[in-house]
Every structure is written in C-alpha cells, then in structure tokens.
Symmetry: none
Subunit: 154 residues, 2 copies
DNA sequence: GAGGTTGACACAAGATATTGTGTTTTTTCT
DNA sequence: AGAAAAAACACAATATCTTGTGTCAACCTC
C-alpha cells in the first residue's frame, strides 16, 4: 500500500475495524518511511456481470434494460416487475458469475414469471423464445397446462 | 467481510497480492461457512481525482462541471445526464486512478453516450473533438451508421 | 450545548495474513 | 486462433494484523 504522502511502498496497520455492518474493513495505516497515517478500505470486488448475446457480443448487465422487457410482459398483471428484476440481480450476485448468456437470463425471468403469473409468463416467453408460429406457441401453452394440472394434483 | 454468497461474517485470506504497482491489495478470501471464495480490494480512501487539461493545468474533478457539458448534449433527449455523470465518477473511483486527462474524460462520456443516444453523442462529440470542418463530422456520422447497421444485423 | 455518532488513537495477547516460488486457468489482445 | 497477461490456486515459514476495551475530539441533530 503506497503511502499517499511520500509514495513509499511499505506501511503497517495501526487499527482495523469492520464497517458498514461487515460489508468492508477500514484500516488505519502508518507509512514506514515518513510515519504519515492514512486510511484504506477493503471492499468487495465490484462484480460486473456481462450478458453474452446470441451473436457473442458481451455487454454489461443493465438492470433497467431487463426491466423494460419484464414491464411489457407484466403490463396490467398483478406482478411487480421491479421486484423480479431485483431478485434476478440478487441471484446473479450470489452465484458470483460474471457472465450469463442472454438465453440463461431469459430462462431465469421465465422461471420466476411462471411461478407468479402465467399470463405474464406466456407473454414474456412469446417474445423471448420468438414464438413465430402458432405451433410452438401452442406447444408451450400445452406444457404450461400440464404443469398446472400437476400442481393441482399436489 | 461478509460472504457475498451466504452472508456469513467470517472469512479467511487465501491469497494476497499487491496490484497496480502497490496502489492496492487484492485478496482472495474463503468463507468459513460455505467455503465459497471471493475477491476483495484494499484501496486508498477516496482519493481526489485531478483532471489534466490540455495546457497541462491540473484541477480537481468537478462533477457539476462535467454535468453542464453532458446536459447540453442531452438537451431534449431521452437521456439522464446525471446518471451518466454518476457512472463516470463511479468508474473513476473503481479504476483507482488519481489523474485523468480531459481528453480521456471526454472519451469516457462519448463511450457512454454512443450507447445510449446517438444524437446526444454527436452533439457532445462535436464540441469535445472540436469538429471544425464538415469532413470530420461526416466521417464520424458514417462510422456511427456502420455501428448501427451492425447492431441491426443481430 | 447536551447527547449521539463516528473516526482517530493506544495497548496487548492471540489469531491470521504475507510473500516467494511455481503451476494452472482465464481473460485479453492481435 | 494463438500468444501474452492477469488471476486463481497451493504451500510453507515468517511477520503482521485483529479485536476488545477505553479515551478523546469533531461533527451533527435538536
């Protein structure tokens, strides 16, 4: 840790305390050359998550972008889109992955929507999976129905 | 240092290395509860960032000053100037640099604007890069168009 | 201006981190 | 794709940091 005053490379820790409820550690250091003291913070690496699109392009995970898609699917449905997006962000942080394909991201959204609101789910899926023809759409609806009846059987 | 995966408060250091020529320390930690590993950085307390102008003059990075420029470029455009300035400040903090040339700062703004709103981008660029003649302006617009058509190809 | 809160400072005993060396994996660059 | 750089991993011997307890000063808030 280079001293900000004289640039010397070595310093010793004089005090060290957790801060922010354990989110990081503040240390008070003293330069071994000039004896000046300074403060440092040890912080979690800011995990930036990249979304890998179908063409291989990487872009930073953009919460508001995802929100737009979810908002569309949940329009006039009793589902809180923001909550869903937050949940996803949370899950991404927790898995400590820095990359996810747009496909996987879509699956995550669908998994959550399927549980909460099936109309929103089908809307989202129809965009995400690009249901272009009646057949794929129908087969998705059928598998949805199967899931429903299985659930009722519980 | 709370584990980002399970939230447990205690972890041990598994590896620790100076990085950035001693500007900070990267540590690899392992959660004592779930054994997951994560990375932390120990960094100097909020260092002041200096902007080096073309004539060599240094001045403290001034957020509101930068905001003025971005506001002009984003006038009546669907872009949140403040958000952009915040993002830049964030990035400056994260890179742990204490100095940046005004040119690099301008490039950062342009990189962000190019992604968000191309009209704002061209406006900002025309001021920042001092497009004095039609030719440079045109060539910038052409490369912008190329980017657009590549994007549509996805 | 009394009271609460936060950062700096001190000290000491126990617990943990650092650093060289070397390999492997991942990421970045061309 | 292939090379180069950066990060993750391992290990071991040594040196340093952490944490409780307590004091003091600076800064808000009411």
């Amino acid at each position: 840790m280079n001293c900000p005053a004289c640039g010397f490379a070595e310093s010793k820790v004089v005090d060290s305390r957790p801060v922010n409820d354990g989110a990081s550690i503040r240390r008070r250091r003293e330069c071994l050359q000039c004896q000046k003291r300074f403060t440092t913070f040890e912080i979690m690496e800011s995990v930036q998550i990249f979304v890998i699109k179908k063409n291989g392009e990487k872009q930073l995970f953009d919460k508001s972008k995802l929100l737009v898609g979810v908002l569309k699917a949940t329009q006039k449905r009793p589902v809180n889109a923001e909550e869903i997006v937050n949940q996803i962000e949370q899950e991404l942080q927790n898995t400590l992955r820095h990359e996810i394909t747009s496909g996987e991201l879509g699956e995550m959204v669908m998994d959550i929507l399927r549980e909460r609101d099936e109309v929103a789910y089908v809307r989202f899926a129809s965009v995400y999976r690009e249901f272009n023809d009646i057949d794929t759409f129908m087969s998705e609806l059928k598998s949805l129905k199967r899931r429903q009846s299985r659930k009722k059987a519980d």
